[in-house]
């Protein structure tokens, strides 16, 4: 792996995390390709012998199964000025670790593994921590690397939070 590519992608992931921490969603959307697939499946507790496909079966329920238009729709809620549960604002920190960059068959696309820890805190003492793995495709464009695909595996069965007002 070319160290320069590795460094560039690492810096891109950190920049993305900073934009999400600061709710700079327009700029974040600018880091996504037009054909993005942003997916976070819901994963049930199943016995090991049970081979039900829970991650890649796109007919099953998910937390996120979004294309670019879907993501923009969600983000429009914040622009209305009436998203009451976002005012006062939530405080976010995304920590991104365990970054691995793997070349793919396509010269301009990199498979990127990473782990996240997203901390949220709002109002007086609401808080939660979301931890999991991500599997991304980052595509090289004239404007730098853009996110073309993200699969998020959250390590919770019951989401231990009241909502997901956060992008991971």
């Amino acid at each position: 792996m070319n160290l320069e590519i590795l460094k560039t992608i690492e810096q891109t992931l950190y920049r993305e995390a900073r934009l999400l921490d600061q709710e700079r969603y327009k700029e974040w959307v600018g880091m996504l390709t037009d054909d993005i697939h942003y997916h976070m499946p819901g994963i049930e507790n199943r016995y090991r012998r049970d081979k039900t496909e829970q991650v890649h079966d796109m007919t099953r329920m998910a937390f996120y199964d979004d294309n670019l238009e879907d993501l923009k729709k969600r983000l429009r809620r914040l622009e209305t000025g009436t998203a009451w549960s976002e005012d006062p604002a939530t405080r976010y920190t995304h920590l991104i670790t365990n970054i691995e960059v793997v070349p793919t068959e396509k010269e301009d696309e990199m498979l990127v593994y990473s782990n996240f820890l997203a901390y949220r805190n709002r109002n007086e003492k609401d808080q939660d921590t979301l931890i999991g793995n991500r599997e991304d495709i980052w595509r090289k464009t004239a404007e730098g690397y853009k996110l073309a695909k993200r699969m998020i595996i959250l390590k919770q069965n019951v989401l231990l939070s009241k909502n997901l007002n956060v992008y991971l």
Partner: protein, 455 residues
Amino acid sequence: MKIEKFKDNGRYDSYMNLDEGWLDRRVFWEQAIYDREMEQIFARCWLFVAHESQIPNPGDFLTTYMGEDGVIVCRQKDNSVKVFLNSCPHRGNKVNFADAGNTRRFVCNYHGWGFGTDGALMGMHEEYCYDAGDIDKSQWGLKQVAKVGNYKGLVFATFDEAAPSLEDYLGDFRWYLDMLLDNEDGGTELIGGCIKSVIGANWKFGVENFIGDAYHAGWTHDSGTRAMNNGQPFPAIDMKSSYHASMNGHGWEFGTEGVGDLFLLGRPKVLEYYNKIRPKMAERLGEMRSKIFGSVASASIFPNVSFLPGISTFRQWMPKGPTQFELRTWVIVNKSMPDDIKNEITKGVMQTFGPGGAFEMDDGENWENCTQTNRGVVTRREKLHYRSGINRRIEHPELPGIVYQGQYNDANQRNMYQRWLDLMNAENWKDVPERYSPRLNGKETMGPKAGLKVA
């Protein structure tokens, strides 16, 4: 100032006056009241445990909760469904740890006691340690619920042998349920998987919100509505042609414009689909029900299931103590729908009423704070106002149940708490009063003539 201590004397009349239209906040807070709810309501009522489509084949099972009692719901070889406690009768250990799956037996991890898919004790590890006369295996299976019933694909169970039949329990609410469960040939199914989340609120806030609270939608969900529909505001409510209908604590609030909830889903293809099948729906269910379906509407089945007909979220509020519930959500679709419509609905529900949904996010926050403010001893002595529309009761020739005009109304909520109160006070089912005049006892609920008032 006189400090009134909370006393539980088995009578709950002092915690609300539904003729005046108020509730005591302590019904959302006190552990003792919650404990009593588990006994008086959840250990006696018919509770939703599964949709048939979740367990289509023999050996298919899922685990869920009836109140706080964990149960296994399992499809039998003869196609019937059994429901039994998810707790080994030997030392009490939880027997099954999966949300769902298929199995030939349930085996306890502790001492290897093995149970058939019907819950019967089949044998155990090192069985020779039991001498003759030590155990009668026929008596030590997983504890069965008292009764299991099915209404058009929804499987219910009750722990109470003395509970009325499921048909009587649902009463004329079946006429309304048919709009969700039988609006097209082939019935319904749930999309695979289940999204679960935890909300720090009393379970009744979720149920009452869906049973009648159209009022919150235009305000709480202004942002969600505009996000999903290119900036358009919440659909206008016509107070003349919209209603609350309640029976046995179940309730449905609705318009008769046919499109409001379908609009809120934000998926034009789904609206098109329903508009296409609406004439057929009218033949099956009558003109009135074909206009109710898809309008701005929400509903709850007492005590803890809710859904949005048209938006297609289907959910259960699992009580976890007085100040917390687990929300389980599914997507309900017609089996006969083409895959792309099912997919559109699934995505629409996820974006509106999943934990990351544009609508759901603002609800949980409200209910948590409606609950948590009662931490204050002075705050929780204050009443809550439930009087909206108290004088708008009507008799409607086409709509069964206790009907109020105007869907901005607290009527269904009052009736839900009336049922709550009746059950909390009643020592047995005979003491639970009938609060409405059923039109459909023992009658067919389908067809254009069903449910009409007979002079």
